[in-house]
């Protein structure tokens, strides 16, 4: 086995493409967690986003509508989550897990209702690579970065956008304050409840889009379990990236690289049973998480319901 195997440009190209759902989902989760909401339903929301995107574009024949539907499905679930967590102060992990199960069920149910019983699974057009003018033809970088499909560029923009909103706008300052110390935010007139719901909605839209990226860029169709654990991985990436979108995106690329590498290794290392290579990304995720935990600092009010009249 040689080093070239690990440095193959096609590997990086695939990693960039495969990181899209992770980047979008973790950016969405970061928005929510920064406001104090720990939403563990995102694996389900990614699945539902994939179903919504596929079904809308299948029914209406438009990728744009598909993206819209996916974002909307994320918003709806996230707002329901936020309502339970914010207004009713229910334990967030419990609500998240319940919604996770609901989303999984709803995805297949909707698919069945819309698509019905038919002999061949319908498919939609996938997004084709978009060569960026100028840089697209550069050797290596062009191949890896600038001849990808549109959602790759979108997710790069999302990372930059979420970063700017969080750290350069007053909205971001208030949102982070709500996640660090809701009482402090509330007493200066920041509407913590509305802000958390808004963060949930915006984050939910991104998580839904993460789901849309699966049928629209990879498979052209919806299948059960299409998220394949990417929602959970995104949850880990939030910690890995220390609650910054750029950090999480770096982690997403790393994870996607290991995932792609696994398939490369599968073609050359005949001695190892394939199942052990398939475990690799998940084992890697655990190992990375253990490292990432050292010194990581979550928003102080993360997962804690805010109640004005509760005794501190």
């Amino acid at each position: 086995m040689s080093w070239e195997l690990f440095l193959d440009p096609s590997l990086f190209r695939l990693a960039v493409a495969m990181s899209v759902p992770l980047v979008l989902a973790s950016a969405g989760e970061i928005l929510m967690e920064r406001s104090g909401l720990l939403n563990v339903a995102i694996e389900g929301m990614v699945t539902l986003g994939a179903a919504a995107a596929f079904l809308a574009s299948f029914a209406a024949g438009s990728t744009g509508l598909g993206l819209l539907a996916a974002a909307l499905s994320g918003v709806v679930v996230a707002v329901v989550f936020a309502h339970y967590a914010v207004a009713w102060r229910q334990e967030q992990v419990t609500v998240g897990l319940t919604l996770y199960v609901l989303c999984l069920g709803l995805s297949s149910l909707l698919y069945r209702v819309v698509v019905g019983v038919r002999l061949t699974p319908p498919r939609v057009e996938t997004l084709q690579p978009l060569l960026l003018p100028g840089v697209g033809r550069l050797p290596l970088v062009g191949e890896v970065l600038f001849s990808q499909h549109a959602l790759v560029y979108l997710s790069a923009a999302v990372v930059a956008g979420v970063h700017l909103v969080l750290f350069r706008t007053s909205l971001g300052l208030r949102l982070r304050a709500a996640g660090e110390n809701p009482v402090a935010a509330d007493t200066v007139g920041v509407d913590v409840f509305r802000l958390r719901k808004a963060a949930a909605a915006a984050g939910g839209a991104l998580v839904g889009l993460a789901g849309a990226s699966l049928p629209f860029t990879l498979t052209g169709t919806f299948t059960e379990g299409i998220a394949g654990g990417r929602g959970w991985i995104a949850l880990m990436l939030v910690i890995f990236g220390r609650w910054t979108p750029a950090g999480a995106a770096a982690g997403a690329l790393l994870f996607a690289y290991v995932e792609a590498l696994q398939f490369k290794l599968a073609m050359v290392s005949r001695a190892v049973p394939p199942q052990f290579l398939q475990m690799l990304p998940y084992a890697f995720a655990v190992a990375v998480l253990v490292r990432a935990y050292r010194g990581a600092r979550a928003p102080e009010a993360l997962g804690k319901p805010y109640h004005r009249e509760a005794r501190a």
């Binding site: 007053s170 300052l173 110390n181 007493t187 920041v190 005794r311």
Partner: protein, 504 residues
């Protein structure tokens, strides 16, 4: 006569079964400093929280400048020019001072830090309060944090500034500075509500005083009509009981010895650094200090939840650096934690299950846990310590603060009887307690010493220490910088030591 700046009338507020405000009235005149007095639980904080929009009153009228207003949310209060500095500060620890001040009033969608800094700097100059704007708030001393809080309120254009017990965390020198700056603020057109338990502060700095009792106003008087005896009478109804007589003790052998103990927290900061201290049998040693100078680490290292990184820690003559909580308990160390909700109570478990915590291995040495035994002990504790609760099976989280502290006291002192406990570490044991509860607890501490126990009383209440301690050590930056024997007790000398000015 012009209408008062703020008028609250017949404010009623209950929390579950607790009636916190029972038709309270209050008026604040423009340009005054108005003292708000009352024993613990009288409703001072609740009333002001209603004005600040944090609590919603069940009934009652609010008027500002004679016009009825409705304050449903903190935002409404901010708009009416009401700013409140809460007792335990509501700052975002990981934000800078600047970010904390401007939060919620940033002025533009895009943050413009330079412009905002200039505005805040101008404000600081105008009101004579200066804080380092780029430091993280959690790294600032409490006195400075308080200034950040006041700036926060003023930056929002507060015409009414409510300060809830602003002096408890400050050194005497800092208190002087605060009171002086309040005058400056009044001259700049701000009216101040000043909540405190300290009569001399009221008499020194306020124009008028309101005394509250059991959710109602007792009286509002001009300072000139008030004197300490009448104020206390208004507050508690009768004259306060005399303090327990502390007999001169003959200290026995050392129970707790700390020699140059160093404790490092998870951030790598040495929170205790070369701390030395001895507590002997029958002795009550007080630890004074501005909070944040290592009190928590001291309590933790003695209780066994923190390990010393260097130094010697002996309990009853035996090295105990490596010992955990359980070993300490076996050696007779008891703890009254500073934060009872965080460190003392199992909120969702029953009173009975809470009463046995810490003693459960004693009562249940085998595998079996017997709920009947716990209930029996709990019924006993409820009676003896007059804990107000529905019964042994009630969830502990429903109890009021004072009753929680009684519950913890029951746990501690009962164990003391049974096991001849040797050392009690009490950290701010009476914070937030009313007078009877405080007296009750003080009596227990004294009794414990009289029986030969040793007490380490870490308290931010200097009066409490002056009343009870045989000796007071002053903790400053993680070490005991000065010790005063009873005959040397002097408020200002101790206060100087607390700010690092070691007496000659």
């Amino acid at each position: 006569m012009s209408p008062p700046l703020v008028r609250l009338r017949g404010v009623y507020k209950r929390f579950g079964p607790v009636v916190a405000l029972d038709g309270a009235d209050f008026e604040l005149a423009a340009g005054e400093i108005h003292g708000l007095l009352g024993e613990n639980g009288a409703g001072k904080t609740t009333l002001m929280n209603v004005l600040a929009g944090l609590y919603r009153a069940d009934a009652g009228d609010l008027e500002v400048l004679g016009r009825p207003v409705s304050i449903r949310e903190p935002r409404d209060a901010v708009q009416l020019g009401v700013g409140m500095v809460h007792q335990h500060f509501e700052l975002v620890g990981h934000f800078t001072a600047l970010e904390n001040v401007i939060l919620g009033r940033e002025g533009s969608a895009w943050l413009r830090p330079d412009r905002l800094r200039r505005e805040v700097e101008a404000l600081m100059e105008r009101v004579g309060l200066a804080v380092p704007l780029d430091r993280r708030v959690r790294d600032l001393p409490v006195g400075v944090q308080q200034k950040v809080e006041i700036l926060k309120a003023l930056y929002r254009g507060a015409r009414v500034l409510i300060l809830d017990e602003p002096t408890t965390l400050l050194t005497p020198q800092e208190v002087d500075a605060l009171l002086a700056s309040l005058r400056t603020l009044v001259e700049a057109g701000v009216s101040v509500v000043f909540i405190t338990h300290k009569l001399h502060e009221v008499l020194r700095s306020c124009d008028r005083v309101t005394v509250m009792r059991r959710g109602r106003r007792v009286v509002t008087v001009d300072r000139r009509e008030a004197d300490p005896v009448r104020l206390v009478e208004w507050m508690v109804g009768t004259a306060p009981p005399p303090p327990p007589a502390r007999e001169a003790t003959r200290p026995g052998s050392p129970v707790l010895e700390l020699e140059a103990v160093r404790v490092v927290d998870e951030r790598g900061v040495a929170v205790l650094d070369g701390c030395s201290l001895v507590v002997r049998e029958g002795e009550l040693v007080g630890v004074a200090g501005v909070s944040g100078n290592g009190q928590q680490a001291l309590a933790a290292v003695v209780a066994g939840t923190a390990r010393p990184a260097a130094g010697v820690l002996r309990i009853r003559g035996r090295p105990a650096e490596r010992h955990g909580v359980l070993d300490r308990m076996r050696a007779g160390v008891l703890t009254i934690p500073e934060d009872r909700l965080r460190d003392g109570i199992l909120p969702r478990m029953s009173v009975a299950e809470n009463v046995v915590l810490g003693r459960h291995r004693l009562y249940f040495p085998g595998v079996r846990y017997d709920p009947e035994t716990s209930r029996r002990l709990a019924r006993h504790a409820i009676e003896e310590f007059r804990i107000v609760c529905p019964g042994p099976d009630a969830a502990a989280g429903q109890l009021s603060g004072g009753n929680l502290q009684r519950l913890i006291a029951a746990r501690v002192f009962d164990a003391a009887r049974e096991r001849e406990a040797r050392l009690l570490v009490a950290h701010n044991p009476t914070r937030g307690l009313d007078v009877p509860s405080t007296e009750f607890l003080h009596a227990r501490l004294v009794e414990f010493c009289a029986k030969g126990g040793a007490v380490l009383l870490i308290s931010e209440d200097l009066d409490e220490l002056l009343k009870l301690a045989d000796r007071i050590g002053v903790l400053y930056r993680g070490r005991v910088v000065a010790e005063f024997a009873r005959e040397q007790f002097d408020r200002y000398a101790i206060g100087r030591a607390m700010t690092g000015g070691v007496p000659a």
